[in-house]
Symmetry: D2
Subunit: 282 residues, 4 copies
C-alpha cells in the first residue's frame, strides 16, 4: 500500500485542516497521497477528480461522516480498494476512527495490522415497460419514498418470485446489515450484525400495524412494483434520487461487489453500538 | 333540520349510486337536498359548489372515506353545521355509518336521536420573516414532512414558549385526538380518546430512538421552526400543501372552531377501534 | 412550613450522609426536622416511623429515587403534604432536585418561591366474587402482570361499562401522566404532560400487534377482568403486589387525592425530559 | 415411512375426534400408527408414552398448535424424525396444515412430495458457581424473565466473549428464526425468514429506549449473566422453567440438532405470514 487516495466531506473545514496536517506526515513515511480536487484546491496542492482516485490508490481514506463514506464506496464500485473512515465528530457507524487516533490507525492500516471487513452491497435496478432504465449499487439501503405532499404509496412486493404483500406506507427500505443502523433503525428495524448474509425489508410508517420489518437471506431477489402513488422516488444510500411511476419495478439483488472497510483492530462492533446508541458502559 | 347538503368522494361511482337511490327517499320525507356540483352533474340534478353547501344546509352528509369528511370539515369551518359520515367500505374512523344502515342513521340524525360529538380542531399558521403568510384549520393533523430526496429535517420545537427539543427526523406530526388513529398511529403514536383536550406531537422516523410521542394539553401553543433542511413541506389534513424554508415558523394552536360529528347512538368509539384495527371481538 | 419530615432511600449511605450534613443547616434556620426511624438510627438522632411523618410535617423531603418518592406519596395519602424529591444521581423523573442544589431548593420551597404541582393519582380496587378485597392509591401505575413461568394472560377490559377489548399479553398497565415516563414508556407508551387529565392503557407485549396504547380521560372507570391465566399479579407503583385469580376484577378510578410535588421554579418539565431521555440540548 | 407417531394437544377434543376419524384411513393404506398414551386412552386403542414415539416412528404428526409442536420437537431431540403439524384453528405459524387438508397433506408427506425444512435449534446451558446445572434445546426461544413482583432484571450480555451491554429490562429473549414470530415479535422483534442462520436478541420492555433487537449469526455464543434481580426465571420454548440466581450464567449456542418440519408443497412461508398477521391479500 503505497498510494493513498484522500476524500473529504465537501466544504468541511475540519476535514481540510486535518488533511493539511497529515500530508507531510504521509510524505515523511514515503507514501504518495492524492486528494480529491476539491480538497486539493483548498490545500493548494495537486489533486484528481474523486471518481479517478480508485484507479490510482491502494487505499482510500475518507474524512467525514457515513455519508461521505457511502459516496466513496460508490466510487470504488467493484474495484475492491479498502476504505478507512475517519470520523469528524458526527454519528457515523462506519467512519469509525476518531480524529485523535488517525495517525495510529493509518499506520496500522498501512502495515496491515487491522481487519478488513467485507460488507455486502445491494444492486438496485429500475424497470419501466419491461426495460431496465437505471441501476446502482448501495452499501446502506435502497429506499422507495413518497414525496411530502403525496398521501400514501402502495408497493406490491415479491421475494424470489413469490408474492409477499402490498405495503401501504410512506415507503419501503431494503437495507444491508451495514445500513441497519441508518434509516431502517429510525423506521423501526432491528440491528443486524454487519457480516450477516441478510437484508431487511422495513416499511416506513405502514398503514397496517402488523407490517413489521422482515429479515431475509441476501441471495433472495426483492421485486417491488409501484401499484399506485404519485410523487414517488427511489433513493440509493440517501444520495442518488430517481422518480418512479406507477407500474415501475425496482428489483434488488445482492451486488457482485463488496465494500472493504478497514477496521482498527482494537475496535469492535459492539463498542460502536454502545457508543453511537448511547447504551452506556458497564 | 330541513336542508341537507350532500358531498361525495370525487369520482366514486358507489357514492353517486347511493345518493341517486336516496334522493327520492329524502324528497318523500319532505327534506330539501342539495348535492355538490360534481355529484349533481352525475345524477342530472341541480347542485351547488361544495364550498357553498355549508351556507344553505342544516346538516351535511358525506359519502366517502375520512379524506372526504376532512374536506367537508374544512369547508364548514367555523359555522358548526353537523356532519354525518357514510363509510363506503374503506378504513374510515370518522365516516362511521355503513352503507346498509344509512337510511336509519339519517332518520335518527334528522329527528335528533343521535349524539353530536364536538371534535377539537387545530389552527396552523406559518410565519416567514416575522409575517404570517398562511393559516389553516385541521381536524386531523398538521404535518411537517421532508421531501423524498431530502436527507433529514431539523425542527426546533417549543411548547408555550419553552424549548422542548430539536427533532431530527423525516418530519413531525401535530395531531388532534381525532387524528390519532390516522398518520400519527402509523408513525408510532398512541390512540387518543376523541373527546380529550389534548394533542400529540409524533416525530416521524426520528434519528434519536428516545424521541417518543408526547401528549400535551391542547391549549398549549406548539411552535416549530425549520432549523435546517431543504425540500420541506407543511401538509394539513393530508390535503393542503405548503413549501417551507429554513427559518419558517409553524405555530399550532387550538382552533376557536370545532367539527360537529353526528354519531349514531348505538355505535361507540371502542366498537370502531376494534373493527378498524382488527382487534377481534370477545 | 416549620416542621420537616425526612425520608431516605433505605440503606443508601449517600442519602444518610447528605441528611447528616443538612440537619444543622435546618436547625440554624429554625426548622424542626424529623427523619424516619431508619435514617435517624444511622445518624444517632431521634426519629419516627415513616408512616407517622405525614401527621407531624408541613413538608416532606425525600432523598432517593422515584421509588422512594412513590412510597412517600403513598404514606401521605390524602393529607396533601407537599413532597420535595432530591435526586441522588439515578434516573428519577420526579425526584428532580440534584444534590448540589438542595439547600437552595429547600430554601425556595420553605419560603414558598417554588411551584406546587398537583399530580393525579389512581385508585385500584380488587373484587373477587363480588366483594372488594383490596384497595390502593398509586401515583405512577397499576399493573397486571403474568408471572415468569406463565404463558399469557387474557384481560377483558371495559371502559365506563363499555367493552373495549380482551388483551392477550404479558400484562396491562394503567398509568397516570406521572407514570407515563416509567414502566409504560418501556412498554411502548407515549409521554404524557404531567398535568393532563388523562390516563394511559398500555398492553405489555401484546399478542396482537395492533393493540396500541390508548389515552383516556381520567374520569373514566377502567375495569379489567382476568379472563384466563395462572400466576397473575397486580402491582401498584411497582411496590405492592397482590395475586389475582381468574374472574377477579381490578377496577381503576381517579383517586380523590392528589400528590403535591414541589417543583423548583427554574426547572421545567421539558428540561427533565431532555436530560432523562438523553435528547441532548440545542 | 411406514410407522407414524401421533401426538395431540392435551385435552383437546377436536384433536381426539380428528385422530379417531383418521386411524382407519391410515390402516387402509397400510401404515402403522401409534398415538401417545393420553390420546390412545381417549380412543380406546393401544398407545405409548409420547417420549417413546420418536424411537419407533418414521414421522410424527402433531395435532394442536405451536405449543404442542414445540413439545414434540423437544421429544424428538437429535433423532431427526420429521414432524408434520396440523393446525386446529389457532394461531400457529408452524402447525400449518389446516384440518380439511390433512389427508392430502399426509398422503403427500408419506410419498415424499413435500418439503422438509430444517429449522435451527438453540441449546441453552445454565452455569452456577462454574458448574453446568441445566441444559435444554429449543426450537423457538430461550427467555430470561423477571417475576411479576420483581422490579427489573439486569443482564450482562456478551457475544462470543465480547461484552455487548447490560440490559435493564423485564427480560431478554434469544430467539431462533422459527421463534421470531412468537414472543420476540410481541416484544418488538423483527420477522426472520425461517432458514436464516441467525438468532435474535430481543430485550423485553427495556429501560433504555435505544436497546433495540439485534440479529446475530447463529454460530455466535450468547452469554447472559444475571447481574442483579430477584425472582428471575429461565423459560425454554415457553414450557420448561428454571429459577435463576444473581451470578448465574445462561449460555446459548446453536444446537447440533435441527427440527425437520414437513411443509406442504403448495404452501409458502409468506402465505402463512399474510394469514397469521392479517396482512390481507392483494
Amino acid at each position: 500500500m503505497k498510494h493513498i487516495g484522500i476524500i473529504t466531506k465537501k466544504g468541511e473545514p475540519k476535514a481540510i485542516g486535518l488533511v493539511g496536517r497529515l500530508l507531510p506526515w504521509f510524505a515523511e513515511r514515503g507514501y504518495e497521497t492524492c486528494p480529491d480536487n476539491d480538497t486539493a484546491r483548498h490545500l493548494g496542492v495537486a489533486g484528481r477528480p474523486a471518481s479517478e482516485l480508485p484507479d490510482i490508490s491502494d487505499i482510500i481514506i475518507v474524512f467525514g461522516g457515513d455519508g461521505t463514506l457511502l459516496s466513496a464506496a460508490r466510487l470504488v464500485g467493484g474495484r475492491g480498494i479498502p476504505i478507512l473512515g475517519v470520523n469528524l465528530g458526527g454519528l457515523g457507524f462506519m467512519a469509525e476512527v476518531p480524529v485523535d487516533e488517525v495517525p495510529e490507525a493509518i499506520e496500522n492500516a498501512l502495515r496491515g495490522s487491522c481487519t478488513i471487513e467485507e460488507r455486502v452491497m445491494l444492486q438496485a435496478s429500475v424497470f419501466r415497460d419491461g426495460k431496465r432504465i437505471d441501476q446502482h449499487s448501495v452499501l446502506n439501503d435502497v429506499v422507495i419514498n413518497k414525496g411530502a405532499l403525496a398521501r400514501i404509496v402502495a408497493i406490491d412486493t415479491a421475494v424470489d418470485g413469490r408474492y409477499l404483500t402490498t405495503f401501504h406506507s410512506d415507503g419501503l427500505i431494503v437495507s444491508t446489515p451495514t445500513g441497519s443502523t441508518a434509516y431502517s433503525l429510525s423506521a423501526g428495524g432491528p440491528i443486524l450484525y454487519p457480516t450477516l448474509n441478510s437484508l431487511i425489508l422495513t416499511p416506513i410508517c405502514p398503514h397496517l400495524l402488523a407490517n413489521r420489518p422482515i429479515v431475509l437471506p441476501d441471495d433472495f431477489t426483492i421485486s417491488m412494483t409501484i401499484a399506485s402513488g404519485e410523487d414517488v422516488f427511489l433513493t440509493m444510500d440517501g444520495q442518488v434520487g430517481f422518480p418512479l411511476h406507477p407500474g415501475d419495478v425496482v428489483e434488488v439483488v445482492k451486488s457482485p461487489h463488496v465494500t472493504r472497510l478497514l477496521i482498527p483492530c482494537e475496535r469492535d462492533y459492539f463498542q460502536v453500538l454502545r457508543s453511537k446508541l448511547k447504551w452506556g458502559e458497564r
